[in-house]
């Protein structure tokens, strides 16, 4: 075995050290699959549909290259009211989803962290179970529940609380239910991770100094869990802005979400430059939360 390794070693060029391999391999992987595509999207967003090949952008005139930039897609985006409204609507839905998830999730994570130790493994497992079962199937199930002759309407009718079925599907209401439902575990888990590590002695010290439990919560617990709150909010907000599946299955024509617009531009209209422009603007919108998220990540690993 040793001689095999030795002969393998001798055939490796000298510049390929172990360190270079370990760093270079994933670096190349991510550069090609995560970074390069964004550049190409940028390029295509600045071109016409016919010339979407990368080489189509640069043409030679004599010995000087001239780059043709077509900003028509962006101009259209900027002028069309519907696009503007859709962007705003997406951000607003994402914002409210984050808020509701925080409101539901924080107390949940708090009580989970305070539960007796031997129950906590079970509680975490029960949160993870929905996470591991197909997200698509669960959203589909909500369709079943919310439709006019679905479970919820039938139950309400049977109880006599309503006279005729409530239109619940394909409304902003059903969209929000789907959004909150999907993203709730993503809010709960970072919060729980943070709160369960909270040293109970801080709370004991506060009580010892005469602080009422309610005040202790706001003055000590919440500020100390700030990192968890920010992490949870970023994990919900950023992907929620560009969500496609939930609006498509549960939202209706009245729910404007930019993810659907992107999909339609690409698949239905086959307008690549337009879809790319929509993507670039979406990226710009989430740039700030993304930066916050990345900063949080690097701080956590310092």
């Amino acid at each position: 075995m040793a001689s095999l390794m030795q002969s393998l070693k001798n055939s490796i060029p000298s510049w390929l050290t172990g360190r270079r391999l370990v760093i270079g391999l994933p670096y190349a992987w991510f550069l090609i699959l995560a970074f390069l595509p964004v550049l190409i999207v940028l390029k295509i967003s600045l071109s016409e549909m016919q010339t979407t090949a990368v080489s189509g952008m640069v043409s030679w005139q004599g010995t000087w290259p001239s780059i043709k930039l077509d900003v028509s897609s962006y101009l259209f985006l900027a002028s069309d009211e519907l696009y503007l409204a859709t962007y705003l609507s997406s951000i607003s839905y994402a914002f409210y989803t984050t808020l509701i998830c925080l409101g539901l999730g924080y107390p949940f994570a708090y009580f989970m962290a305070r539960a007796p130790k031997r129950w906590q493994a079970l509680l975490v497992m029960l949160i993870m179970l929905p996470f591991w079962t197909s997200f698509l199937l669960r959203i589909y199930a909500w369709k079943t529940l919310l439709v006019n002759n679905g479970l919820i309407n039938n139950a309400l009718l049977a109880l006599g609380w309503i006279d005729s079925p409530i239109e619940m599907l394909n409304t902003p209401f059903s969209l929000m239910i789907g959004m909150v439902y999907s993203y709730l575990p993503f809010m709960i888990l970072p919060l729980y991770a943070n709160l369960s590590k909270l040293d109970g002695r801080y709370l004991e010290a506060a009580a010892d100094l005469g602080c009422h439990p309610f005040k202790t919560f706001w003055l000590i617990t919440v500020p100390l869990s700030k990192a968890g709150i920010v992490a949870g909010c970023m994990l919900v907000f950023i992907p929620a802005v560009g969500e496609y599946v939930i609006p498509e299955l549960l939202g209706g024509p009245n729910t404007l979400m930019i993810g659907r617009v992107l999909w339609d531009e690409f698949f239905s209209n086959n307008d690549w430059p337009m879809a790319s422009a929509v993507t670039i603007v979406m990226l710009l919108l989430i740039m700030l939360p993304l930066a916050i998220y990345n900063k949080l990540q690097s701080k956590g690993h310092a």
């Binding site: 390794m5 172990g18 360190r19 370990v22 760093i23 391999l25 994933p26 670096y27 992987w29 991510f30 699959l33 995560a34 595509p37 190409i40 999207v41 295509i44 090949a53 990368v54 080489s55 107390p107 949940f108 708090y110 009580f111 079970l122 497992m125 029960l126 993870m128 929905p130 079962t133 197909s134 698509l136 199937l137 669960r138 199930a141 909500w142 529940l145 439709v147 002759n149 679905g150 479970l151 039938n154 709730l184 439990p213 994990l235 950023i238 992907p239 560009g242 496609y244 299955l249 993810g259 992107l262 690409f266 993507t279 979406m282 993304l290 998220y293 990345n294 990540q297 690097s298 690993h301």
Partner: protein, 278 residues
Amino acid sequence: MNSTALKWFGRSWMLLVYAFLFLPIFTLVAYSFNDSQLVTVWSHASLRWYKALMQDSDLIAAVMLSLKIAFLSALVSVFFGLFSAFALHRYRRFTGRGVLSSLASTPLVMPDVIVGLSLLLMLVSVQQALGYPERGLFTILLGHALLGTAYATVVVRSRLTEMDSKLEEAAMDLGCRPWQVFSLVTLPLLMPALLSAFLLTFTLSFDDVVLSSFLSGPGYSTMPMVIFSRARLGLNPSINALATVTIVVVTLVVIASTLYSLRQDRQRKRDIAQAQQE
């Protein structure tokens, strides 16, 4: 609010949220046994939809494809995730470390549609230049592997930070060359993390609909793609049957692994306590 009232408040809150989370799951399972074509009206219990599922060749082919892609993408994800986690954990300073760190964590939060579109446009450009790759299994695999690598990096890295760095030094001190240190000490200790990264990325790939839709080609429909297209058109009871099957499998695996790790923990604690008394 005194502490018992708080305790009951907490319990009810948690119960309600759990009920909210599990309601769709129970619905799927319950209605899979419903004989009626109308998903919403209960007639009587039957296995009609399971029989229909068995004969639904399109859906079964899609499930097979999804399983294949999920398995392969999980392998690739764990492979690159291992390298990526090592690069970020072991080497504190190298040019562009911040860039690698951002690139490795961004796919975790980036909206699927952005990842799908950008990756597709890049692959199309490559295809126009080189004539390869054709859209199909390979391109879907790339997309899932990108996402999976980001998740695997997080899982492996957290295990690396927990691991005692002195163990690797001890191995070197006792005569291990660097690659021996990795294969004899680091890798065995990383195994649990690699396994959980594999399961996580497998599930992610199996479940994905957006990336698959962007990146697949004619003749390559994954299970989520088939379910999604049917769900857009209406409600389809054989989906309930499929859902129940996956739910049962997942639940059994999750419960089994949780019980296993709990038992390992308890045994470990018992061993340590016993050693102290001797």
